[in-house]
């Protein structure tokens, strides 16, 4: 008979990795943090495991971002742009296309406010409105409003980048 945490691990691990990846933009690190989340879940045995897992993942990602900022302060040769580390070097056209898409989404997400981004990513991870409200500190009624704004801004930001890219290509050709 499967353990409750084991079932959660099998059904939620990929969502947790995706959620963490959109915050740390490092696939290996996202997987490491996801493992840490589930090891902690084994120890704590939370009452609402799914919401708990994403709450802990968000906290770990926040700590990771802080430590990255601290490291960056000590390094003088780093560029101001965050680097997206690839698990496999892009060697084919498909990979290049995937990386371009991902970079656009990353930039579009970075243009959202912290709250809008968190609510959007939690919704995409499959959390319900009450769970999102509990984790983000919003009223349940405000989750819909925040989510509507976040979706609209994400698409607008992405479309702006697409438009600029087309203009650049047109200018080059």
């Amino acid at each position: 008979m499967r353990d409750e945490i084991e079932t959660l691990y099998l059904t939620t691990y990929a969502a947790v990795v995706r959620f963490l990846y959109r915050k740390v933009w490092d696939a290996d690190r996202a997987e490491d943090l996801a493992q840490e989340v589930f090891v902690r879940a084994m120890r704590h045995r939370p009452e609402k495991p799914r919401a708990w897992v994403f709450a802990v993942a968000a906290n770990l990602a926040r700590d990771e971002a802080r430590s990255a900022i601290r490291k960056r302060k000590h390094l003088t040769l780093l560029t101001h742009e965050p680097t997206v580390r690839h698990q496999v070097e892009p060697d084919g056209e498909e990979n290049v296309e995937h990386d371009e898409k991902m970079e656009k989404v990353r930039l579009a997400l970075s243009q959202l406010s912290q709250r809008d981004r968190d609510v959007l990513l939690l919704w995409d991870a499959g959390l319900s409105y009450p769970e999102i409200a509990e984790q983000s500190g919003l009223a349940i009624g405000a989750v819909g409003t925040t989510l509507a704004r976040a979706r609209k801004r994400l698409i607008e930001a992405h479309d702006r980048m697409e438009l600029e890219k087309k203009r650049t290509h047109a200018a080059q050709s």
């Binding site: 995706r18 996202a30 589930f38 090891v39 698990q87 995937h98 989404v105 919704w123 994400l154």
Partner: protein, 320 residues
Amino acid sequence: MPLSPDLMRHIPEEELHACLDQALSRSQCVEIEHHLAECRMCRAERDAIAALRDRTTALLVAAAPRRIRPRPYAQLSATHVKRVSRHTQRLRAAAWAASVVAAVGLGWGLSHWAGSALPSARQLGAVGAPIQAAPLRASAPVRLAAAPARASRRSPAPRPERTAYATAPVPPRPAASELASVGGTSTAREPVLEGVWRNVSWTNTQTERDDWVPRVEGVPVVQVKVRQAPQGGRPITLVTQLLANGEMISTVEGPAQEVATLLAQQPGQSASAELQDMQAAPATMDPSGARPAAAAMNRTLAIFGSAPSDSLKAFMLRVK
């Protein structure tokens, strides 16, 4: 008559988002669906929001690692078990350290408590039999307290040592080495004696002397030694006593020449002991008047020891 769809309240945008996200109750959804069936504007808005929602989902799918390879659950369990055992070890180490600290603290506390309670008993045990053999007179405490006051009247300079001897309610505990010397393992503070001296018990001393033994009243007697005088007559009597601070003083009474020789043989002892001619205080020396005055003329009373000379002078007053 039903209202025209244009006059009805349109559904807010966030409610349409919530409806599409299945975040509303069944009755709310039915109500919205009923409105959408009649309101073309809200229906268009709902379709736009659905497209926005689908595009958002599609964009976010692109922002994901190319490959997600979950490790076997057993590996996670092993990590968890290892971490729990490490945590248990830390707890045990902390408990062990805490118990050591508690034991040391308890031991220190007990020794501190015992140290504050024991000194008088240890001192009494150290001098043992001589104290029992030399019962204090009833007036001894009064004389102890009175002696330094009399001394301070004679000399205006402060004399802390003598005051401590006389008035301290709880005397400081003597050091271990000093207690050892009392027990006879070291003779560093005992008087250097040449010639044939014999130890005499307190009772025998009183019997032999038949009158008065030279000593400081109220101070425990460690030993009494007697040596025959070369010219015969009353022997030389030496009484060694233990002060509250662990130091020893010796009171000697005998022929002046013999006492002077004895004092000259005491290395490291305070040489400021005051010599008193017995002729100066015949009444004190011999209250019964039985001793011939000629014998008193040649005898001397002296105190020596490692105490300061001021203290020795004060003790001399108490002896007299």
